[in-house]
């Protein structure tokens, strides 16, 4: 959509707002921001919502959701949009953009990096899309409790698939996402080759064959809170997990969990704006504000996720609550990036339906 189209739409919406369809009140305006609840919502609230309210006088209504586009789609389809800015998984951001559920992000929205570099240089490649501005990197890693391995400890992705040296049950998310990448990398495919291999039937077959080797020993998890729990309860000896959850268990609950960064699969979250929001200008202001390197660094002081701007990484020092140095816990820290893969959300958005069916069939076998 062209910039003029956007303005036209904005004008129409302003008219609607004047007719009483707006949720806004007061001069500075208001905004409904939707996040994931729990630690993520607390972090964003501390690092971004509160500072934005203080700086602009805008009131932010906070809401939580569990991902997915169903709610946004309902709002857009019924013309009753009351969400404005949403923390999206990239996957949803891409689909939402294609489906016209999200506003296009203007090209000139973002400011330069902390080192003066242009945004296109400063942001990690691919983290800015038509309808989404990258926020944070999170990573799916492997983790274990050291008590389960009194002798040799697992250290690589390959060890996760090695039942002989490291017997015991494994936790994995019940989804083909990430797991297929893990399988191929464990089978010796270089990270940059993974999606090219998956694109072929033989490559897909190879990934499932690798998963076959541990299939009977996998406990499938659904929610991000499950893996730390299962590791603590000795339900599994090794599990895939979100690095932030493990970090939280380490610093907040003093769990001696160990993360294996080898073969981590990075994914990033984005800010998106629901199409047709009456608060478009305020929403864009917020995204601009939240996308500065300083703002991103503040998020990483709350929770162990990395800024998607390179120049924000050096600004992250210690965990605000505990004072722990954050660098070793962030997915994009150089020492953790030895073998790492950034998930190709575009590939997944084209293939998820088919692969998910295949995965479900494989699970049910």
């Amino acid at each position: 959509m062209s910039a003029s189209g956007l303005r036209r739409r904005g004008a129409a919406l302003a008219l609607l707002a004047a007719l009483g369809c707006s949720s806004g009140d007061g001069d500075a305006g208001s905004l409904t921001a939707v996040s994931w609840g729990g630690a993520m919502a607390r972090a964003v609230n501390k690092a971004q919502y509160e500072p934005f309210e203080a700086a602009t006088g805008v009131t932010i209504a906070r809401e939580d959701y569990n991902g997915g586009l169903a709610e946004i789609r309902t709002q857009v389809d019924t013309g009753n949009v009351h969400w404005d800015v949403v923390d999206l998984e990239t996957f949803d951001s891409l689909r939402g953009c294609d489906e016209g559920l999200l506003e296009l992000m203007p090209d000139d929205l973002l400011g330069p990096g902390a080192d003066g570099s242009a945004p296109a240089e400063d942001f990690w490649p691919g983290t800015i899309t038509d309808c989404g501005i990258g926020r944070i990197f999170y990573s799916t890693v492997l983790a274990y409790h050291p008590d389960r391995f009194p002798g040799e400890t697992p250290a690589t992705l390959g060890d996760f698939f090695d039942l002989e040296r490291f017997p015991g049950r494994r936790g994995m998310r019940r989804s083909p996402l990430v797991n297929l990448e893990f399988a191929l990398m464990a089978d010796g495919v270089a990270p940059e080759e993974v999606y090219a291999v998956l694109d072929t039937d033989a490559g897909m077959e190879r990934a499932f064959r690798k998963l076959d080797t541990i299939r009977d020993f996998v406990v499938w998890w659904e929610a991000g809170a499950q893996p730390p729990q299962m590791l603590a309860d000795a339900e599994v000896v090794l599990s895939t997990a979100y690095n932030g959850r493990i970090f939280n268990a380490q610093v907040a609950e003093n769990q001696p969990f160990v993360i294996i960064w080898d073969g981590q699969v990075l994914d990033f979250g984005q800010y998106g704006i629901v199409a047709g929001t009456p608060n478009l200008e305020v929403a864009l202001d917020f995204v601009r504000f939240a996308s500065t390197p300083e703002s991103m660094a503040r998020v990483s002081a709350e929770i162990a996720y990395s800024p998607v701007r390179r120049s924000a990484l050096p600004l992250v020092t210690t965990h605000r609550e505990t004072g722990v140095a954050m660098a070793p816990h962030l997915p994009t820290s150089p020492e953790n990036m030895g073998r790492a893969l950034v998930s190709d959300t575009r590939w997944w958005s084209e293939h998820l339906d088919e692969v998910n069916e295949r995965f479900s069939a494989w699970l049910a076998r």
């Binding site: 294609d98 489906e99 996998v218 406990v219 309860d233 088919e354 295949r358 479900s360 699970l363």
Partner: protein, 403 residues
């Protein structure tokens, strides 16, 4: 003057009485029938591609489906794709075609971009320059299929069927057959849960129905307590109890019944699913059973034994048939609820915890393929409806007693 024969007042009263039900009728209509109807209509009707590419699709009707279409088709497609791109429709178009053939999303979007940006000498070259897949008849077949305004392909998918290149219906390749096995497993799990609920609920309901009123009230309360906590809490409680190092296993180890390294896997498998779902759904079995048992006077059982029946005969020939309306109602209720459950089995069911409704949720929330979700929902709807018909034949729906 005498009052005319009073035909008016009853008719008016009837009208007024009918009027009182209007809010309910309207509520049912708007909150239930209308959404159900629109949802089901999505399973067969999707005008998006047909509206965006009318000319292309009209031209494709004459196409043989084997060779690459001619330049007029390419030209129409390029023109319509360019317009679609301007209207921010290209992505959605791509998404729709992608559902017919994986990987088509980017083909469509790249084609649209190419048509808008760098027109080559011919439309064919332009599109193929955007993405070489435009040179493959398969792309055009996918577009033609996606362009059907009314379609049964969602239902075909939902039944693990597909159309081959020639248009005849064939079964999906084995590694993609998922919905029918899943439906069968869902029906089986629901059946097993119903049976367990019946086995557990029947004695409980009998106990409550024959307890003195004060104790019966307390027992009912105990049956209802599970409703007071959230589903997630209850499910998590089962994880704590049943996991490898959980309460039950530790107790068994402490009692020396199982060895420490021989702990029983009771969760993240079918056992976990059955236990947790039975617990969650038990009240729906107990309440209808209780309400029916309460109305069975004790002298029926006395009569049976005075007539010479032993306990087993009295139970199976008198008591059990008399509780049939409650048994059937409870079973129907539990079965239907179980069919739609997915959070509990997903959390405690391990690899077998994937049920039919999980796929509906997936297509509603993640893949946004509401057409397929609606078709899956429609099939579930038909399955439950068929069950009801069978029930009606066997027991008679009028005897349903829900409590």
């Amino acid at each position: 003057m005498t009052e005319p024969r009073s035909v008016g007042p009853p008719a008016r009263a009837r009208l007024r009485a009918a009027g009182l039900t209007l809010p309910l009728v309207a509520f049912v209509g708007f909150s239930f029938l209308f959404p159900l109807g629109t949802m089901l209509s999505r399973s067969v009707y999707d005008p998006l591609v047909a509206d965006a590419l009318p000319e292309t699709l009209a031209l494709l009707e004459e196409w043989d489906g084997e060779t690459l279409p001619g330049e007029p088709v390419f030209a129409a497609a390029a023109r319509e794709l360019e317009t679609a791109l301007g209207d921010r429709l290209a992505g959605r178009l791509g998404g729709r075609v992608n559902r017919v053939a994986s990987g088509m999303r980017s083909v469509i979007v790249r084609g649209a971009r190419a048509a808008a940006e760098a027109p080559a000498a011919t439309a064919r070259e332009t599109l193929i320059a955007g993405d070489p897949a435009w040179g493959d008849p398969a792309t055009w077949r996918a577009i033609r299929t996606a362009g059907e305004r009314f379609t049964v392909r969602h239902y075909l998918r939902a039944l693990d069927l597909d159309r081959d290149a020639g248009g005849s219906v064939v079964r999906q390749p084995e590694e993609l057959r998922i919905y029918v096995p899943l439906l069968l497993r869902t029906l089986m799990v629901s059946g097993a849960v119903t049976l367990l609920c019946l086995l557990l609920g029947y004695p409980i309901a009998h106990l409550i129905a024959n307890a003195p009123p004060r104790r019966a009230r307390w027992l009912i309360l105990l049956v209802l307590v599970p409703f007071w906590t959230s589903l997630l809490v209850r499910t998590t409680a089962w994880i704590v109890l049943l996991q490898t190092h959980g309460v039950v296993n530790s107790l068994l180890v402490a009692l020396g019944i199982v060895a420490d390294d021989g702990r029983i896997a009771m969760i993240y498998n079918m056992t976990g699913t059955l236990v947790a779902m039975t617990h969650v759904l038990l009240p729906f079995m107990v309440l209808p059973l209780y309400s029916v048992m309460r109305t069975i006077p004790p002298h029926f059982m006395r009569a049976a034994s005075s007539l010479g029946a032993n306990r087993r005969q009295s139970f199976f020939r008198v008591y059990w048939p008399l509780t049939l309306p409650g048994t059937a109602a409870g079973s129907l209720l539990v079965f239907i609820l179980a069919i739609g459950y997915y959070i509990t089995p997903a959390l405690v069911g391990g690899s077998s915890g994937q049920l039919f409704s999980n796929m509906i949720a997936f297509h509603m929330q993640t893949s946004l393929n509401w057409g397929l979700a609606a078709a899956l929902g429609g099939i579930l709807f038909v399955a439950v409806g068929a069950l009801y018909v069978v029930y009606d034949r066997l027991v008679g729906a009028s005897s349903l007693r829900l409590g």
